[in-house]
Amino acid sequence: MKIQRRILADVLTRDGETAVVVTGRVVRLSDLSALVFALTENPVEVEDLARALEAELGAPEGRSTLDATKDAVSDLIRHGVLRPSEQPAQ
């Protein structure tokens, strides 16, 4: 599945942290979520995203990079930050 970040009302990155405005709410992204957001400007396969995250952050402890990536992606889709790439951008 390819995923991509949505076009959001506002995105602010400061001191390595990112805050976004999505569906009328202000959401503070974790380090991992902020990196996923940064890497999904264009549509990307989840597996490719996982490899990019591992290259940047290293492998997570106790679980596969792909599983951790899928959990993060699901979470961000639920919060409206990401979308499957076949859906509209907003």
């Binding site: 009302a9 202000v26 503070r28």
Partner: protein, 483 residues
């Protein structure tokens, strides 16, 4: 005979208004009796025991064109209703000296409204600008101003005062009704004045007035149509508040006292370009309702003003004070119950009071004051807050152009020794403000506007304390501290 409470013991007050409302609303059935008055009736006529709808008052001679009829009508005591729509003006078929019996009047004056009054007809005539001469018996003759025609007939038990339908009774409106009421003074017994707007083709206003005699045990009733209007300024917006109900005047007077600093555009940060907020109505019918209603109205006013400025200002659940000379200000952001009002009361003794509830900051860093009443909780009744005037509490007024110098997050924690002050990391401070913001997502690029605020006024500070006086000194110093 003429109608009214003074005659024959019939209390036509409520029924009168109901009937008038019914007629004006063109309902099919009038409540005075059993029957059916058609929608196209332009008025009602009561004569010789019969109540008929009037098709038109453009009749000639003595026979109106009646349509429909009420059977078993109540004794209306000679009360008539004005014609509407196609009815002819009263100047046609005029008989100026006809102030005789109701029946006689009814045949020629289907548009005359008569009610029972106390002896205030001359006052009413003068107030409406209607000039009428009185005869020796105290009866007034017809007067006419701007097409309004008046009959007043003094009789045992009171005076009948009637206002005829007119093409245009000037620009009379509810404020006129209120002035009319106020002008009558304490000797006017009990007045109920109902003003109705009739947007028929030819008419603007039709007045009905009734003054109950001293025999009446009814309290002074103003009716639902008499109200007082206040315009309250805050956050650069203005909200119209209409006070209604039995205690409309008392409500309005109480609000004028507590909201004194919001009554002028300058006090509320408004100018010629003040944004109009959604209007409000406050109805109080019993003294037991007043305090609670005033408390709830304060909350409603705040919501209305915030809604009016959504998308235009950064707004926080916060209090704020300002140096009277420089306008440099500190905003203390906090959730409810943290002590913003107490802090405002303390700081306002030496700094200009901007607000204790909602701070609005524009993109230039200017603060739009909202010097509302301080809402102070009653110790014995914590669910009730009294709305106290800033003037009564001795708070200094807001300076002319307050600007934000520092933003603080108040953190009240029981048991805190002294005051703990901490500069927050950027995102921690930003999200602390987000949690207590109003309508933030409606702003364009709200996060960047918040960032600009923080960059301009310095890192958000968290002030942790147990008792407000401990923190007040710290906050006062922040007013002038460099960012």
């Amino acid at each position: 005979m003429d109608g009214g409470a003074d005659q024959g013991g019939h209390d036509h007050g409520e029924g009168f208004v109901d009937l008038v409302s019914t007629c004006v609303g063109r309902r099919r059935t009038a409540p005075v009796g059993v029957g059916d008055v058609p929608r196209e009736a332009v008025g009602l006529r009561h004569t010789e025991g019969r109540v008929q709808g009037l098709k038109s008052s453009s009749h000639t001679g003595d026979t109106p064109q009646g349509i429909g009829e009420l059977t078993q009508p109540k004794d209306l005591g000679g009360v008539f209703w004005p014609g509407l729509g196609d009815a002819q003006p009263m100047t046609q078929g005029d008989r100026d000296d006809d102030v005789g019996s109701v029946e006689e009047r009814g045949r020629h004056w289907p548009t005359l409204v008569s009610v029972g009054l106390s002896a205030t007809a001359p006052q009413l005539c003068r107030h409406l600008g209607i000039h009428a001469a009185s005869d020796e018996a105290g009866n007034t003759r017809a007067g006419e101003v701007q097409g309004a025609r008046v009959r007043a007939n003094r009789h045992e038990g009171g005076t009948t005062f009637g206002v005829g339908r007119a093409r245009d009774v000037g620009r009379a409106h509810e404020e006129d009704a209120q002035r009319l009421f106020d002008s009558l003074g304490p000797d006017s017994h009990q007045l109920r004045l109902t003003a109705l707007t009739v947007h028929a083709r030819r008419f603007r206003w039709i007045w009905f007035g009734q003054v109950r005699g001293h025999q009446s045990a009814q309290p002074n009733r103003r009716g639902p149509f008499v109200s007082e209007v206040l315009r309250l300024h805050g956050l650069g917006a203005v909200v119209e508040v209409r006070c209604t109900g039995e205690l409309a005047a008392e409500t309005a007077n109480a609000m004028r006292v507590s909201w004194t600093r919001c009554l002028s555009p300058a006090g509320g940060g408004s100018g010629a370009a003040a944004v109009e907020a959604e209007p409000l109505e406050v109805r109080v019918d019993h003294p037991s309702q007043l305090v609670r209603r005033l408390m709830l109205t304060t909350q409603d006013v705040t919501r209305s003003l915030i809604a009016a400025r959504a998308g235009e200002l950064l707004m926080f659940h916060a209090g704020a004070v300002s140096d009277p000379a420089s306008g440099r200000s500190v905003a203390y952001v906090a959730r409810g119950g943290t002590g913003k009002t107490t802090m405002s009361h303390l700081l306002g003794q030496r700094l200009g009071y901007l607000t204790d509830e909602a701070v609005g900051i524009d993109s230039s860093g200017a603060i739009h004051p909202y010097p509302k009443p301080l809402s102070v909780r009653r110790p014995a009744q914590p669910e009730i807050k009294d709305e106290l005037s800033p003037d009564a509490l001795g708070l200094l007024p807001a300076p002319e152009n307050p600007g934000i110098n520092r933003v603080v997050l108040l953190d009240r924690v029981a048991g805190t020794a002294g005051v703990e002050v901490e500069e927050l990391a950027f995102m921690d401070g930003l999200f602390g403000l987000v949690e207590q913001s109003s309508a933030l997502p409606e702003l364009p690029r709200p996060l960047h506007q918040l960032a600009d605020l923080i960059d301009g006024s310095g890192p958000v500070m968290r002030v942790r304390y147990a008792e407000a006086p401990d923190a007040a000194d710290v906050l006062g110093q922040l007013v002038e501290a460099q960012a």
